[in-house]
Amino acid sequence: MAKYLLLKHYRGAPKGVNDVPMDQWTPEEISNHIQYMVDWGKRLETTGEFVEHYALSPEGTFVRYDGEGRPPITDGPFAETKDLIAGWSVVDVDSYERALEVAGELSAAPGKGGKPIHEWLEIRPFLTQPPTITE
């Protein structure tokens, strides 16, 4: 079993096929899109492969240490940031091929005109625990 992160980008991924901004969809198309993702998660729960599902606000601020005794310093948000994460799903599956398969299903979520958005998802394996027997 291996865990994979499926990253959804607001910006920074290659353009999907049916790439129309969401505010130009009908309210019903938006509902269908969201319902599709909820159903996807439920389906993976029944197959025993679902770990988590989170969405992020697009608003973000940079923060860093600013020296002893000083409060952390913040900067941004930067409207021009190239890469913007929209959210993620984590799955726990038996193979990389299976991870690709479920990512493909998520990317088929319906968008404008009820057609799949073919959104590019970024897939990243988790680093695991080291195995005990290596020699």
Partner: protein, 383 residues
């Protein structure tokens, strides 16, 4: 008093077996026994039973009947078989063995087989298994319930394959996550129980392999979690009692002359355990065992490990020559080459390869270890 959970878990497969003999199908019996375990944890502290197993059988059977009550015809059948006597120890070992086969059935994916084995044979709760594998409890519950559905058509007396059971137990031991449940210890317990139920050289081989590796556990990590390579481990911290037991089990298995991959792997671990210092390691014999292992399995990782052993036995150049015959895309190929390059007196290449290996390391502890190796060479001015 607190409930002896290890006793409860030891009794689990036998109680499932008894319900099965009384006519309960596996899925229903397994559910009923889980419920009985939960009740035992609740009731026993105030009111400990004189006969824990008898108590579990009675309560699990009642739970099973409650669940089946709506089906009158079925209940009649169950009441009839209720009169069957309790099985003797031999039959009980047989029931337990059948349960191992069922839970490792070839129709199950590895992760389902692992989950089902830990629950039905190991007596762990779904929550404990979910925590051990870092997934939500609902997901693990579904994984187990699907696994039970998958094997629902399998006859309990169908002959099973020991090899599939051993692969599942090996997975539990080797890729155990760290949580409240010590999966390595649990794998050893389940393998011991299997060894008691069936006389089989490879079961003994796997048990020996686990014990010999478990013996090194105190020395394998620094307190902060940093990996300590075998050659640098403080061998005084190795558990000599586990080593002695592992070696004894291995020798008895090897004497039967039915060699298999787990015995060969255990033999390699035993040779490491035998060396008081890393320098005293009998690498020539280890290479011979890798040759045996390569004959027994087509696993390319064996050939990679063999190349490293050749490097120790016959010098780094010989190791590099052995490595050159393998596919560079193999996991840990670059790390092995880095190690051999440094031994061969080429620290510049070694540092570069260590850094490259770190980038593709499959786990954090290994990545940190490889990065430190690159940093060590670079800081010495040699890289």
């Amino acid at each position: 008093m607190t409930v002896d959970e290890s006793l409860l878990r030891t009794l689990t497969p036998a109680v499932i077996g008894i319900l099965g003999r009384r006519g309960a199908d596996f899925a229903a019996a397994e559910d009923a026994v889980q419920e009985a375990l939960v009740e035992a944890v609740r009731v026993w502290p105030a009111d400990p039973p004189r006969d824990p197993k008898g108590w579990l059988v009675t309560v699990a059977w009642r739970k099973f009947l409650d669940a089946a009550r709506s089906d009158a015809a079925r209940r009649l059948r169950e009441e009839r078989v209720d009169l069957e006597p309790e099985p003797g120890p031999a039959r009980e070992a047989d029931d337990t063995l059948q349960l191992y086969f069922l839970c490792a059935h070839p129709s199950l994916t590895p992760s389902s087989a692992v989950a089902l084995t830990l629950r039905a044979v190991g007596g762990l709760t779904t929550r404990q298994i979910a925590q051990a594998y870092l997934v939500p409890e609902a997901t693990m519950a579904q994984r187990i319930s699907r696994a039970k559905k998958t094997v629902s058509e399998v006859r309990l007396n169908e002959p099973g394959d020991v090899a599939t059971v051993l692969r599942v137990l090996y997975l539990v031991f080797n890729e155990g996550y760290s949580g409240d449940i010590d999966l390595a210890a649990e794998a050893i317990r389940l393998t011991r129980q299997l060894a008691a139920a069936i006389d089989h050289a490879e079961v003994a081989g796997l048990l020996a392999l686990m014990l010999l590796h478990h013996a090194r556990r105190p020395a394998r990590r620094k307190p902060d979690g940093e990996l300590v390579p075998l050659a640098e481990q403080d061998r005084g911290q190795w558990d000599t009692a586990l080593i002695a037991e592992g070696v004894e089990i291995l020798q008895a298995a090897l004497a039967r002359d039915r060699l298999g991959e787990f015995q060969a792997q255990a033999a390699i671990a035993a040779l490491h355990a035998d060396a008081r210092t890393a320098d005293e390691t009998d690498w020539v014999q280890i290479v011979e065992w890798y040759d045996e292992l390569a004959r027994l399995t087509d696993n390319p990782v064996v050939r990679l490990n063999r190349a490293v052993a050749v490097g120790e036995a016959d010098g780094a150049q010989a190791g590099l020559a052995a490595l050159a015959t393998l596919d560079p895309a193999l996991p840990r190929y670059t790390a092995a080459e880095a190690y051999l390059r440094e031994r061969a007196g080429d620290p510049v290449t070694a540092a570069r390869l260590y850094a490259e290996a770190a980038r593709s390391a499959p786990n954090l502890a290994e990545r940190d270890h490889l990065t430190r190796q690159a940093a060590r060479i670079n800081a010495s001015g040699a890289g």
